[in-house]
Amino acid sequence: MSGTLLKIERLTKRFGGVVALNQVSFEVSVGQIASLIGPNGAGKTTLFNCVSGVLRPEEGRMQLLGTRCLDLGGLASHEVACVGIARTFQNIRLFGQMTVLENVLVGTHVRTHAGILEAIWPWERRTHQEDRWALDRAMRLLERLALGGVAGRPAQALSYGQQRRVELARALASDPELLLLDEPAAGLAFHERQELMDFLRELKQEGLTILLIEHDMKVVMPVSDWVVVLDYGAKIAEGTPKEIQEDAKVIEAYLGAKTNGV
């Protein structure tokens, strides 16, 4: 189960004059946790938006290899989700007025098929099975993320940490091949970060490939198998966490130019 799952080649995205992504290329291997780091405005979220079909890049190719080889270039965001890529958002975008359980159930939309007629008069046996599967999967995910107790409450009424976990559960509900996490640790308390790291390792065990955007090096370094560093839209380094920590260019990008001798 090795080989690349996601292949990005010369990805370029411009907003008017600003070049948000400049010829970025890298690969994410199957069953691996890859991290995307870089100072604010380096283009990390823009890359996520291109992969998930929210934005259309000017140049470059994005391929999902894995079970079937697919070019993500022309796909709309809902088609990208159908091929097995799920994502979370930098600033949480839950369905506030729907309950936590309903939010996660929406995640299972991709894996179920019941249409209008099915909904009104479910005569197909498959619909009953799918409904049970969806509910069961949603409840299991909520239990795993300690959200069982708040399943019936509206999503907007939860604490920040809880809302992060609901968004994670919702993304996982669609049983994706590749999970894009946009700063999942932002705003979490210390113990919550540890739980997150353990949970990510568990997911990796279960064969899920994860692409992570994160600022907190204490979360990135221990968890990641591969790290890609972006700065001003360009890839400046790539490698194992250890290599990246010593890489001169990365330090310079983060801490500014080394002044002589200090």
Partner: protein
């Protein structure tokens, strides 16, 4: 169905069936029949506004398309009411989707004005295409439905029965839809279209589905209206009607199936009740709307939803 709601549903159904029997006054039954017709329209609009969150200000146009479809089918080809019913529904459903194609490309209040535009365009087209639609004179002599040997005629009781059945079926379907996978998808699109997209929900398709379904129900209602009235003229499908149906949905409680039906009954009965005040009728009606919105902004049966923290 949770027993509590089942009980309430049966109680209401029993009351509605018994009414025409205990109080044979045709005028009261006509009001109830009109109320049931508005309830059907409100249920249809509720799918568009309540489920999918599309502010539609031209719903009367879909209602008109249903009515004119039956009228033309009946007058030109002598088609029976029962055959024309699904066809009218289909035509209005297709029109709902076609009118929706450009509408879903714009957001929020712009969508409202595009649908408003369609409402006016359809009404004026029906007024001007004289050779087809009889122009402002409208179409006359539309056949009443015949069920076996029983001709519905002018009396409102059979229409009332037919409409109650249609409303009950539609309400049941809407309740099922609301909780289903599609219902969740609609509510997701309504709250955050982009996030819903990233979860694999094709927002445009969902919106068109809602418009088609809403159109279908308006078409059925239009067909029954044409059969009941016997004569239809374009000026009874104007912007005021679209606004009234919208008011019923919002007043009843947006998204809530029982709420929308109650909203329709209250708002269609109110003008009749205020008939004694003749000249002051509409004045009090306007006041009633202001007061009701002040007392229950989320509608009679709406769930009191606190606005999302900005």
């Amino acid at each position: 169905m949770i027993p509590g709601r089942l009980l309430r549903f049966l109680a209401i159904a029993a009351a509605l069936i018994l009414l025409p029997i205990i109080d044979g006054n045709p005028y009261h039954i006509d009001i109830l029949a009109t109320a049931a017709l508005y309830a059907l329209l409100a249920l249809g609009l509720n799918i568009i506004v309540g489920f999918a969150g599309l502010l539609h200000l031209g719903y009367a146009a879909l209602f008109a398309i249903g009515a004119y479809t039956y009228a033309l089918l009946n007058l030109r080809m002598g088609c029976s009411f029962w055959l024309a019913l699904p066809i009218s529904g289909g035509m209005a459903g297709v029109a709902g989707v076609l009118l929706g194609l450009p509408a879903i490309r714009v957001r929020g209040d712009y969508l409202a004005i595009v649908t408003l535009g369609f409402g006016e365009i359809v009404r004026i087209v029906f007024t001007n295409l004289e050779e087809w639609t009889g122009g402002p004179n409208g179409l006359m002599g539309i056949a009443h439905p015949v069920f076996g040997s029983f001709n519905f005629g002018v009396n409102s009781t059979p229409y009332y029965g037919l409409l109650v059945v249609l409303v009950a079926a539609t309400a049941w379907a809407c309740a099922k839809l609301r909780g289903s996978r599609m219902g969740l998808a609609w509510r997701a699109v309504k709250e955050d279209e982009l996030a819903a997209g990233c979860l694999g929900i094709d927002a445009s398709r969902m919106k068109l589905l809602a418009l088609g379904l809403g159109g279908w129900i308006a078409g059925l209602a239009g067909c029954v209206f044409a059969a009941k009235q016997g004569t239809i003229t374009p000026d009874s499908f104007d912007f005021i009607l679209s606004v009234m149906i919208l008011a019923m949905v919002i007043l009843g409680g947006i998204g809530s199936v029982t709420g929308v039906i109650v909203g329709a009954v209250v708002l269609s009965a109110a003008p009749e009740l205020l008939r004694e005040f003749s000249a002051y009728r509409m004045l009090l009606f306007g006041l009633l709307m202001i007061v009701l919105m002040r007392v229950r902004p989320q509608g009679l049966f709406g769930t009191s939803v606190s606005p999302p923290a900005r």
